[in-house]
Amino acid sequence: MEFLPLILLSGLQVGCVYAMMALSYFVIINATGILNFAQGEWMMLSAVFGAALITAQLPYPLAVLCAIGGATLVSLLAERLVIRPLQGRNADINTLVVALLGILVVVRYSTGLIFGREEVRLDGPLPAEPMILGDSLFILPQTLFVFGATATVFAGLWLFLHRTTFGRSFRIAAIDPLGAQIVGVDLGRVRFAAFAIGGLIAAILAWLYGPLYAAGYLMGEAPGVKGFIALIIGGLVSPLGALTGGLLLGLFEVATAYYIGSLYSEGIAFVMLMLFLFVRPQGLIASRWRLG
C-alpha cells in the first residue's frame, strides 16, 4: 500500500506515452481511415534528430523545435509523396497500409545507417533531479512534463476539433467522407492536416518518452505497437478513446508487473488487445462507429 501512489504515477506516466501515441494514430485514422503504422518512426526521427542537434551544440530549445519540425516535415512528405498519389488513383486500403509500412522500414533502417546504431541519451526540458514528496514518494520533473504535455496536447486537439471551423470539417470528414465533400470539405486538405497534426503529436512525444528511455533508430517499434493497441482498447471515436485506452493500458501493465510479476508482461498487451477485439471491438469509448 505504501507504494501505491508511486505505482499509480508510474502507470499514468506509461499511460500518457501510450495515449499520445494512440492520439497520433487517432488523428489520421479519424480523418482518413488510414492506419498509419509508421507513426512511431516520426517519433523516432524527432528523438534522433534532436539528439544529433544537441550533440552538435545547438541550444536546447532550438534543437527541440528543429527536431519536432523536421519529424513533422517527414510526415508531411510521406503524405504528399506517397499517400496523395495513391489516394488519387483510388488505391485500395491494403496498398496504402503496405506503402506506409514501406515508409516505416525505409525511415527506420536508413536512420540507423545515417545516425548510427547506438542508443544515446536524450535530455528532457526540465532538470533531472527527482522531487522527494514523502517517504515512499518521489516524482521526476520529466514525469510532470509528461503529464503536462499530454494534457496540453489533448486539450489543444479537442479545441481544434470542436472550436475551429477546420477542425469541425475534420470531424465531418471522419463521419461521412462523401457527405463532407458534398458540403464542400476538401478531403485532400483534411488528409494533409491530419498527417501534419499526427506527425506533430508523435514528434512531441519523442520529448516525453525519449528522456525516459533513450534515442535510437529502433525506438519506434515498441511504443508504436502499444499505441494502436491503446487506441483500439479505448475506441476510435474521439480523443477520449485514445486517452482512456492509453492510460488504462499503462496502468494495467504497471499494475500487473507490480502485483503479479514482470516475467510475462511482454505478452500481456497483445492478449488484452485480442480480448478486446473479440469481445468489444469498438473499444471502451464507442458510439455508432462502423467496424471498418
Binding site: T95, I232, E266, G292
Partner: protein, 330 residues
C-alpha cells in the same frame, strides 16, 4: 444453395489446356534439374530459401490478394508448424514424415480458432488482430523456454530421411521445390474452381455474393485455414532444412518482407509474387550488397512499385503479354 468449400470444389474447374500443363511441366523440370548446374552449396541454399519463401509469399498473396484478408498472422502459422515439427522430431523422436500432418493440423486448428472471431472484424481491425496474434506468437516463442527452447530455440533437429538417405542440400531443395509446386498447383486450381470464384466474389462484392448463396464467413474462414496450412508446410520444410529453429522465424521484420514481396509482385498475381520472391531472394546477392539490409531494400522497392507500377511485377507481365498478343486488357 451455399458453396461448401470441399475437395470436390477444388476439383471442379475447367480442365487445364495442354499448353498450360506443358509450361508448368517444363518449369518444374528445369527447376528440378537446377542442382545439377549449381556447384556452389551456397547458391543451392539460396535457391532452397527462395523456394521456402515462395510457399509463404504465394499463400500470403492468396490470403491478402484473393481472399482480401490483410493478415499479419502468417508468421505465426509458419511458426506453429515449424515448432511442432521441431519439438516432435527432436524431443520426442517422432518420425520426420509424420510430423507433417501434425504441423498442418496444428496451424489449421489455430487458424480456425482465431479465425472465427478475427474474421468477423473488418479492415484495419482485422489486420491489427492478426498482428497482435503474430507478435504474441513471437513473444511466446522467445519466452516459453520449456516449450519452445526459448531464445536459443531448438537445435539438432534430425534430418528427413528417404529410403535410408538423410535429405540435405539437394535433397531438401527438391523437397522444398515439390512442396512449392504443389502449393502453386493447388492455389492455381482453387483460383479456377468454384471455391475460388466464391472467394473472389466474397472479396469483391459481398452483397452480390451473399445473394448468390455464398456463405461468405465460411468461405473466408476456409481460405484462411487453407493459407495457414500452407504456412505450416513451409514451416515443416524450414525446420528440416535448417535443422535448427528459433524465434527469429517469427519476427515482424520477416513478415514485412513477405508483405512487400506480395505487393511488389502485384496483389493477387501468382506469377508476380513468384518473380518478386526470386528478385528479393537473390537480387541483393547479385547486386553485391547482400551484405546488408534486406528489409530496407524491400521497403524501398515496395514504395517504388506502389507509386510507379501499382500492379506490380504481375501487372507488368500482363501488360507485356497483352502487348505481345496485341490484345487490350479484358
Amino acid at each position: 444453395m451455399s458453396t461448401p468449400p470441399t475437395a470436390s470444389a477444388l476439383l471442379d474447374r475447367p480442365a487445364w489446356p495442354a499448353k498450360r500443363l506443358a509450361i508448368w511441366g517444363a518449369i518444374a523440370l528445369v527447376l528440378a534439374l537446377l542442382p545439377a548446374a549449381i556447384t556452389n552449396g551456397y547458391y543451392l541454399t539460396l535457391a532452397t530459401n527462395v523456394a521456402i519463401t515462395m510457399i509463404l509469399t504465394l499463400s500470403l498473396n492468396f490470403t491478402i490478394g484473393r481472399i482480401g484478408l490483410f493478415s499479419l498472422a502468417h508468421s505465426a502459422f509458419l511458426g506453429i508448424g515449424a515448432y511442432l515439427t521441431a519439438i516432435l522430431a527432436q524431443r520426442h523422436g517422432v518420425s520426420p514424415w509424420l510430423t507433417l500432418p501434425v504441423a498442418i493440423a496444428g496451424s489449421c486448428t489455430a487458424a480456425a480458432i482465431i479465425g472465427v472471431p478475427v474474421l468477423r472484424l473488418r479492415g484495419m481491425f482485422l489486420s491489427v488482430a492478426t498482428l497482435a496474434f503474430g507478435l504474441f506468437a513471437e513473444v511466446f516463442a522467445r519466452q516459453a523456454s520449456d516449450v519452445t527452447g526459448g531464445a536459443y530455440g531448438i537445435t539438432g533437429i534430425p534430418p528427413l530421411v528417404l529410403f535410408g538417405i538423410p535429405l540435405r542440400g539437394t535433397g531438401m531443395y527438391l523437397v522444398a521445390l515439390t512442396v512449392l509446386l504443389l502449393t502453386a498447383l493447388i492455389l492455381e486450381n482453387i483460383r479456377l474452381s468454384r471455391f475460388g470464384r466464391a472467394i473472389a466474389a466474397s472479396r469483391d462484392n459481398e452483397p452480390a455474393a451473399a445473394a448468390a448463396g455464398i456463405d461468405i464467413a465460411r468461405t473466408r474462414l476456409a481460405g484462411f485455414i487453407l493459407s495457414a496450412g500452407f504456412a505450416a508446410t513451409a514451416g515443416w520444410v524450414y525446420a528440416f532444412f535448417h535443422l535448427t529453429l528459433n524465434p527469429y522465424v517469427l519476427s515482424l521484420d520477416i513478415t514485412f518482407v513477405w508483405l512487400f514481396i506480395v505487393l511488389v509482385g502485384g496483389l493477387g498475381s501468382m506469377r508476380g509474387t513468384a518473380a518478386a520472391t526470386v528478385l528479393l531472394g537473390i537480387g541483393p546477392e547479385l547486386l553485391g550488397f547482400a551484405s546488408t539490409q534486406q528489409v530496407l531494400i524491400s521497403g524501398i522497392l515496395v514504395l517504388v512499385v506502389v507509386l510507379l507500377a501499382p500492379r506490380g511485377i504481375g501487372g507488368l507481365i500482363e501488360d507485356m503479354e497483352h502487348r505481345i498478343k496485341g490484345t487490350t486488357h479484358g
